[in-house]
C-alpha cells in the first residue's frame, strides 16, 4: 500500500456503502434483537415503523438476497423454539458486518437529524 493511500482517512462503513435503503435498514433493526424468519421480520418492520413500512414478500426477499450477498446477514442454523416452529422456515441473523453497518447508518441519520434541527426553518417551527 502506498504512502498516499495510507494517509487517506478511513471511510465510515455507511459512507463506503452509501446510505442504506429503508427496507435494508429496518430489516437490520429487526434482526438486531435476535434471529427471525421472513414473516417475523415483516411483522417487526411493520411494528417498528408504526405501519409506515410494509414489506411484501418480493421486496423482503429481494432485500434479504442482497444483504446475504453483502454479508450483512446470514442464515442461522439455530432454531429459537424447534417444537413450536415450522421446519420449512429459514431464520436469519445479523453478522458483525451487518451490526457495524447498522451502527454506521444510525450515526449518519443522527448527524443528519442534528443538521436539520439546527436550520432556521426547523427552529422556527419548533418555537411556534
Amino acid at each position: 500500500m502506498g504512502e498516499k493511500e495510507r494517509s487517506k482517512p478511513t471511510k465510515h462503513l455507511s459512507e463506503a456503502r452509501g446510505p442504506l435503503t429503508p427496507a435494508v435498514f429496518y430489516i437490520l433493526v429487526a434482526l438486531a434483537d435476535g434471529d427471525r424468519h421472513g414473516y417475523a421480520i415483516m411483522q417487526e418492520v411493520s411494528k417498528r415503523s408504526g405501519g409506515a413500512v410494509r414489506l411484501g414478500p418480493g421486496t423482503l426477499y429481494g432485500a434479504i438476497s442482497r444483504m446475504l450477498r453483502d454479508c450483512l446477514i446470514e442464515e442461522s442454523e439455530e432454531r429459537p423454539d424447534p417444537e413450536m416452529d415450522d421446519s420449512r422456515r429459514r431464520y436469519y441473523r445479523l453478522t458483525e458486518q451487518g451490526g457495524r453497518a447498522l451502527a454506521a447508518e444510525a450515526n449518519r441519520l443522527r448527524d443528519l437529524a442534528r443538521v436539520a434541527q439546527s436550520t432556521r426553518a426547523v427552529r422556527k417551527l419548533r418555537q411556534a
Binding site: 421472513g38 415483516m42 410494509r54 411484501g56 414478500p57 418480493g58 421486496t59 426477499y61 429481494g62 442482497r66
Partner: protein, 171 residues
C-alpha cells in the same frame, strides 16, 4: 374443504404461478419462503371477506411484485455479465413464453380485425355475415399458428445456441 380454505388454496396456487416471473436462481432460493410468508399474510388480510379489502390485498401483491421484479432481473442480468448468458436466463423463465404468447394473441387479433374490416359490409343474408367473420377469425388463427411455429423454432435454436440442457422452461 370449506370455501375459505379452497379460496386460500386457489389464491396460493396463483401466487406460486406469479413467482415464475422472477429469475430462476432467485425463485429457486427464495420461492418456497415467499409462498410461506404470503400464506401467513393472506388469511389475516381477508378474514372478513370484504371485496374491496381483497382487491386492495391483491393490488399490494402486484405492487410488491412489480417493484421487486425489475430489481431482481437487473441483478440477474448483471450477475451473468453479458447479453449472451442473460438471454439464456431470460429464456429459462416464463417471461419470454408469456411475451411470445401475448404477442401472438395480439397479432392474431389484429389480423382478424383487419381482415374483417377488409370484407365489404352490407350483407343481405346473416349467414354470409357470419361466414365473413369466421373467415376473419380463421385468418387470425392461421397467423397465430404460423408465428407460433416460427417462435418455437427460434426458441429451439436459441436454446441450442445457449447450450441449455434439460427443460427449457423450468416449471
Amino acid at each position: 374443504m370449506n370455501d375459505c380454505a379452497r379460496n386460500a388454496e386457489t389464491s396460493g396456487r396463483f401466487y406460486r404461478l406469479l413467482l415464475f416471473l422472477y429469475p430462476p436462481d432467485f425463485r429457486t432460493r427464495f420461492g418456497r419462503e415467499m409462498v410461506q410468508v404470503w400464506q401467513d399474510v393472506f388469511p389475516l388480510e381477508r378474514t372478513d371477506g370484504i371485496l374491496w379489502k381483497r382487491l386492495a390485498f391483491w393490488l399490494r401483491t402486484f405492487e410488491d411484485l412489480g417493484r421487486s421484479l425489475f430489481g431482481e432481473w437487473r441483478q440477474a442480468v448483471a450477475r451473468n455479465g453479458g447479453i449472451g448468458p442473460s438471454v439464456a436466463t431470460l429464456a429459462e423463465s416464463v417471461v419470454v413464453p408469456l411475451a411470445i404468447c401475448g404477442s401472438l394473441t395480439l397479432a392474431g387479433f389484429t389480423v382478424a380485425v383487419l381482415t374483417r374490416r377488409a370484407i365489404p359490409r352490407g350483407f343481405t343474408s346473416p349467414g354470409l355475415e357470419w361466414q365473413s367473420t369466421i373467415a376473419a377469425l380463421e385468418t387470425g388463427a392461421v397467423v397465430m399458428v404460423g408465428l407460433g411455429i416460427a417462435g418455437a423454432l427460434g426458441a429451439y435454436l436459441l436454446a441450442r445456441r445457449c447450450r441449455t440442457t434439460g427443460l427449457w422452461i423450468k416449471l
